[in-house]
């Protein structure tokens, strides 16, 4: 565990944290959906447009060369951030969703057929379900699902029973965006490898919050999004082992992804450009690099420790509140800073609106996990999710809002005496 963070200094770096919502200071607890941006990221965006803006890779002029270098620097930073040794194994996409679709399309369509199985989990975000459903519909691939335990952890033992020699890929989330549960990633990737399957890790809810490395995880593919880790929207990351990316066909066709083009055929470019057709989100890639710098400077271990202290306090306080149901593991060693809950008798959307009136931004609904909601037998949940700039005082305010909301909506339910 690292030393303490300079929380006040960090908060001062995020201009939006100064704003009021409904006349109250913003308490932003919707970080699992997207995160706020520090000044350095916002500045990197405008600095790029003010000083370096040009298209990349084909220009011979100074600005194009600068822009190209800045994007490639961001790629190298991304590789270092996730412990990948080669920058060419980092493909920039629009978001994690596009990264997963890329694998389903360019790897799945080429290598999978009706005899094959893809193993997913009950906890997946729609972005790691629907692309495989589309592949299944087209190629007849069978989808199977690892269940979760009653307390919302991935059932690793069940995974061992469900995997078969037909399983060609295990695609799973490293951290649930609903329950906060952390997956023992190495165990699942090892299980996949032992059964001759590849692994794809959805790290969207892990990479922003705690240290990780693709070499330690020994995964074959990895996907995550810039906007959930202080960076701009419009940039996502796909990591793939070099020989796997090489063996795949291109995803989209167009400029930049080609080496030579004739009227009736083309030869694809080398990695990673083979998968980056058309002008990418250049300024966003560059300022994503600034976000990674910021996270690295604060330190992922410190961020994880800070979030754990917020989560522990929140769980303690939530547990003491009557009429409140909290989902997911209770032990903070098995979960991250995402807390899904319901106030019994109050609809999650009414909770979300009541919290908004307190200046507290939380999420309410199915969180792009409708199958998981069916498993929990609820139409939706309210969800608070923490990040490095949140404070213990904000956790207290969250619980105060919880009490106020419950009392407001449920007072009538108590017998009037």
């Amino acid at each position: 565990m690292g030393g303490l963070m300079d929380l006040e200094g960090i908060r001062a770096d995020f201009p939006i944290l100064k704003r009021l919502v409904h006349g109250k200071p913003l308490i932003y607890l919707d970080n699992a959906a997207t995160t706020q941006k520090p000044r350095s990221v916002i500045d990197a965006l405008s600095r790029f447009y003010e000083n370096h803006n040009a298209n990349i890779h084909r220009g011979v002029h100074t600005l194009s060369d600068e822009a190209t270098q800045l994007v490639e620097e961001a790629r190298a930073k991304t590789a270092a951030f996730i412990g990948a040794s080669k920058p060419q194994t980092i493909v920039f996409t629009r978001n994690a969703t596009e990264a997963i679709n890329l694998i389903a399309y360019a790897w799945g369509r080429k290598f999978l057929g009706p005899q094959d199985e893809v193993l997913l989990t009950e906890m997946e975000h729609h972005s790691n379900l629907v692309p495989w459903q589309m592949l299944s519909r087209e190629k007849g691939v069978r989808l199977r699902f690892v269940p979760m335990t009653a307390d919302g952890r991935l059932d690793v033992e069940a995974a061992g029973r469900i995997i078969t020699p037909k399983t060609k890929l295990v695609a799973f989330t490293a951290a649930s965006n609903v329950l906060g549960s952390l997956t023992p990633v190495e165990k699942i990737t090892a299980l996949a490898r032992a059964n001759g399957a590849l692994s794809l890790v959805d790290a969207s809810q892990w990479a922003p919050h705690r240290p990780m490395s693709v070499s330690a995880w020994n995964c074959d593919f990895l996907a995550f999004s810039s906007h959930k880790m202080l960076g701009p929207t419009g940039i996502g990351v796909l990591y793939g082992r070099e020989e796997l990316l090489d063996a795949m066909d291109p995803f989209m066709g167009g400029g930049d992804m080609i080496s030579r083009v004739f009227l009736e055929r083309f030869t694809p470019n080398v990695l990673p450009h083979k998968f980056e057709a058309g002008t990418p989100s250049i300024a966003d890639a560059v300022s994503f690099g600034a976000a990674l710098d910021y996270l690295t400077c604060v330190g992922l271990s410190r961020i994880a420790a800070h979030e754990e202290s917020l989560t522990r306090r929140a769980l303690e306080l939530f547990k003491a509140e009557p009429g409140v149901q909290v989902y997911g593991p209770q032990d903070t060693s098995e979960r991250g800073g995402v807390i899904s809950f319901n106030i019994e008798g109050v609809h999650a959307h009414d909770v979300g609106t009541a919290f908004d009136l307190e200046g507290i931004a939380i999420r309410a609904g199915h969180h792009c996990c409708q199958p998981l909601m069916m498993r929990l037998k609820v139409p939706g949940t309210a969800r608070a999710s923490f990040y490095l700039y949140n404070t213990l005082e904000e956790v207290e305010a969250l619980v105060a809002a919880l009490r106020k909301t419950r009392d407001f909506f449920l007072r009538r339910a108590a017998p009037v005496g």
Partner: protein
């Protein structure tokens, strides 16, 4: 009436009348073998409304519903059922359209026709654009039902955006 904790904005949105209607049982239940039947859903939040309706001489004789969802969607449905029962089908259709129009406009609900007096309690919802669809779900489901032939089960689905 008991006072509630919370600031005026919360009380303005979730007026007492709204909370009363959201848990009201007076028009709950489905009519067996109803002339008209429709099912409405808002996939964004999962709110659902099922409406059944019988007419008598061109008027709404009975309007009954089942549903689950937030206070706003359920209260709006209960208020709709109470307001429209007894009115002609034509009148109900025009009132539903008027209500929808008002919810999407800046105009005050105070100018709604007298038949929709209780519905004015939904006034506060218009300041929360992301909740307007909660209030209109029942009314859209009704309009869909009235547009279809008798004996046909209509479906209404809100779209995102």
């Amino acid at each position: 009436m008991m006072s509630r904790p919370g600031d005026s904005e919360l009380q303005d949105l979730y007026r007492e009348l709204l909370l009363d209607y959201s848990s009201s049982a007076s028009h709950k239940g489905l009519i067996k073998g109803a002339e008209l039947h429709s099912h409405g859903i808002n996939p964004v939040c999962g709110d659902e409304i099922e409406l059944t309706l019988n007419t008598k001489a061109g008027a709404i004789d009975r309007l009954r519903y089942e549903g689950h969802g937030c206070v706003i969607s359920q209260a709006s449905c209960a208020m709709m059922a109470e307001s429209l029962e007894g009115l002609s089908v034509e009148k109900a259709r025009s009132l539903a359209s008027a209500f929808k129009e008002m919810m999407l406009s800046k105009a005050s609900l105070e100018s709604l026709p007298a038949e929709l007096e209780i519905v004015r309690a939904l006034e506060g919802v218009r300041r929360f654009p992301m909740r307007v669809k909660c209030a209109t779900l029942a009314w859209n489901t009704l309009l869909q039902m009235l547009a279809g032939p008798k004996g046909h089960a209509a479906e209404f689905q809100e779209v995102e955006g």
